[in-house]
């Protein structure tokens, strides 16, 4: 057992590779070159169009023990990963690694594929049932959870070699030019899939909207794509909305959003050129609404909004409050419509967004990011992966990437969920290290990381309820009491990889 700089115990090896313990957000320096993909030749007259996915799997040369990837732009409306895994089963492949950008509750049938031995490893974070079953010990399948930037890194360094990338292409021609903008499954940005297209040994475009050559505009071009496969349906873009598209009306959520906006205002960052990221969900949208009002009042023009893009950001772009949007993934259909028609709404790859090992990702230019949490602790470490019952239920997303990159990373969370306190002595799982988290905002007060005494002083001057994080914790536990620790075994079922490839925490099987 090794121990990382945050005191977390880790196994020495995982999936046959040595485990590198996390040593700080910017401790690891990469060496060597980027991974590449095989040279290939497609001659004039050669056809890329195949009949179906089975033909593509066979043509790709995928073998037992190989690795496939998909991407999660259709989120819980995605049909493709399930479809691909059914084909793998049909053709009798075993021991396959899934290295998708994320797995969602809609992919619950992966559990059967794991039980039958078709799938044996997951090289990405998981949302929903698969993670739950694995942490309960009801399913055996090692999982490595990665951030969006970390996943792009792991492909580009060659740590995770992808044999076949299946790219859902809402608009595609017979030669593989594609975009996410048009067609019945249009989901907007193809952000996560760019990296797969660059490094996978075989790239398969899967489309339910085959258009005459050339498909325009071209997001991922033909020279990266080996095969094109038509299917009935890629999925349901109506389900890309992960949580809600409405600003919360819950007074507690609104209070949190008001405090978060106060923090941004007090930080001094809200001036011309301001750059900002916030997610979907009622509180995030309420923060966006407050920031929008502050920008209007202060006549501030921001430089860019970033991340998963919502209609709220689109409104701010159209109002002139931001000059541009960097979009790795559209969070609602309003964002899809915007990226289709607005040249200032830019499609961004996960590499460009957040990979720590390139010549500078967009997160480095972020002034402020608003992030959620299932738990935080008195050292400002944040858990976004497991719930307080220890079950692995959420993927990291851009959490640790943006926290590391942004000047001001603000965690917003209600002080209690159900009857559990959100501020703990130690989080169940560390997703994002406290070294990169600046402020925790709950409805019961604002805790400022001691690295920012000036911000705390300014907030106090503005009569904001600044509290020491332990004082905040005491106030919350005075209401909730201190919950009993969850009982976990020593058996490691998943690793939480930090964006640089070191391991920040291990998820252990919970006792049944």
């Amino acid at each position: 057992m090794a121990r990382n700089s945050l005191g977390r115990e880790l196994p020495d090896a995982w999936n046959g590779r040595p485990v590198l313990p996390y040593a700080g957000p910017f401790a690891r320096r990469p060496t060597g070159d980027r991974a590449s993909s095989p040279l290939r030749r497609v001659d004039p007259g050669d056809e890329k169009l195949l009949r179906d996915l089975q033909e593509a799997v066979e043509a790709s040369g995928l073998r037992d023990g190989g690795t496939i990837s998909t991407h999660h732009h259709l989120r819980n409306g995605d049909d493709l990963l399930n479809h691909v895994v059914r084909v793998l089963d049909l053709v009798g492949l075993k021991d396959i690694t899934i290295a998708s950008s994320s797995i969602h509750p809609v992919h619950a049938e992966l559990a059967d594929a794991i039980r039958s031995g078709v799938v044996s490893r997951i090289e990405c974070g998981v949302n929903g049932l698969v993670g739950e079953l694995v942490t309960k010990g009801e399913l055996r399948c090692p999982i490595t959870v990665r951030s969006h930037g970390g996943r792009a890194r792991s492909l580009l360094t060659g740590e995770v070699p992808v044999d076949v990338a299946f790219i859902a292409a809402p608009c595609c021609d017979v030669y593989g030019n594609m975009n996410g903008l048009h067609g019945p499954s249009a989901f907007g940005s193809l952000g996560y899939a760019f990296t797969d297209a660059q490094v996978a040994r075989t790239v398969v475009a899967v489309t339910d909207n085959l258009v005459p050559y050339p498909a325009t505009p071209v997001s991922i071009p033909q020279h990266l794509v080996d095969f094109v496969v038509p299917v009935q349906r890629l999925g349901d873009p109506g389900k890309i909305v992960s949580t809600t598209t409405r600003v919360t009306t819950d007074p507690v959520g609104l209070q949190i959003a008001r405090y978060a906006a106060q923090v941004i205002e007090a930080s001094g960052l809200l001036v011309d050129g301001f750059s900002f990221q916030t997610g979907s969900g009622g509180i995030s949208l309420a923060v966006a609404e407050n920031v929008r009002n502050l920008m209007r009042r202060g006549k501030v023009q921001g430089s860019f909004g970033c991340g998963g893009i919502t209609g709220a950001f689109v409104d701010m772009l159209e109002e002139g409050l931001f000059r541009s949007l960097f979009d790795v993934q559209c969070f609602d259909l309003r964002a899809v419509e915007s990226i289709r028609k607005n040249a200032a709404h830019l499609e961004m790859s996960a590499d460009l967004y957040a990979n720590p090992f390139n010549a500078g990702p967009v997160v480095n230019r972020l002034d402020c990011v608003i992030l959620g949490a299932t738990e935080v602790d008195v050292n400002f470490n944040v858990n976004a992966n497991t719930e307080s019952n220890g079950l692995l239920l959420h993927n990291t997303g851009g959490h640790s990437d943006t926290a590391a990159g942004a000047k001001l990373a603000i965690i917003v969370a209600p002080s209690m969920r159900g009857r559990l306190p959100i501020v703990r002595d130690e989080v169940t799982t560390i997703t994002t290290p406290g070294e990169t988290v600046d402020v925790i905002v709950t409805e019961r007060g604002i805790a400022v990381n001691e690295r920012h005494p000036e911000l705390a002083a300014e907030l106090r001057r503005r009569k904001a309820p600044v509290k020491d994080v332990r004082e905040l914790q005491r106030e919350i536990t005075a209401v909730t009491g201190t919950p009993r620790a969850i009982r976990r075994t020593d058996e490691v079922v998943a690793l939480i990889e930090y964006r640089d490839g070191t391991i920040i925490d291990a998820v252990r099987r919970v006792e049944s």
């Binding site: 007074p251 507690v252 609104l254 209070q255 409805e443 019961r444 001057r461 503005r462 005075a478």
Partner: protein, 304 residues
Amino acid sequence: MTAARLRRSLLYVPGNMPSMLQNIPVFRADSIIIDLEDAVPVTEKDAARRLVRRFLDRHPQRDKEILVRINALDTAWGHDDLREVLPALPDGIRLPKADSPEIVERLDTLLTEHEEGLGIPVGRFCVLPSIESAAGVIASIDIARASSRLIGLAFGAEDYTASMEIERSKTGEELLNARARIVWAAKAAGIQAIDTIYADVADMEGFRRETELVKALGYTGKSLVNPRQIEIVHEVFAPKEEEVAWALQVVDAIQRARAMGTGVIALRGKMVDAPVVKRALRTLRTAHAQGLLDTAPDEEAILG
């Protein structure tokens, strides 16, 4: 507890809902009114009373004023409400259906008895009576002087319109005469005037207009049914920048005057004397509460 304390926002919290009671420390209203009356169904009166007692017992350190709206004293519950909650030391009682000075006097007597029983100073509990009927509006001038415990008069328009057999509108013309009489009665007695609730929590614009109206009439605060309304009340009652600047000059001028041995001085061609200073102080107190001023005004130094 002084009558001069800021009471812009008085938020009702139902006394029978633990999830909402535990959020009392969260919301930044000036005062909280824990409701044992209309919000609590008949079948839950006993349970709610005990819940509120437990809540208050567990929250001895409070950052805002807490009043309890008891059931009317002529109901089966009013006296039990007092007996249960007063030992937990709320700041005061909001008295519903206070339609005559006698009702207020009766509560005053009861509070004195409880204070003596609890061994705490007489006058510890303040009272905010609600004027909720035509008779109450007529009697408001006497009600306002019925007890030294009174911090203000509150207007309850829902019951008032019922007693008048009229409908309540969004624009409030039908309430104008009652509002005017109540604010006169309160101001004449030197206490605060607290306006009625605005029930449509989805209509923030209508709520803002009504708040602006009652502020113009002289009301100093408003009862609220939803935390989302707090911010708007505070915005409406916030002094403007130039008002704060003027108030600071007034305070500065009167202190200079006093150093010269006089209580009157001219400031930019206007006479500054006691009433002007009082108004300036109120502006500064509000500005401080809104975070517009770093330090609270030193009232003793200013008033001399």
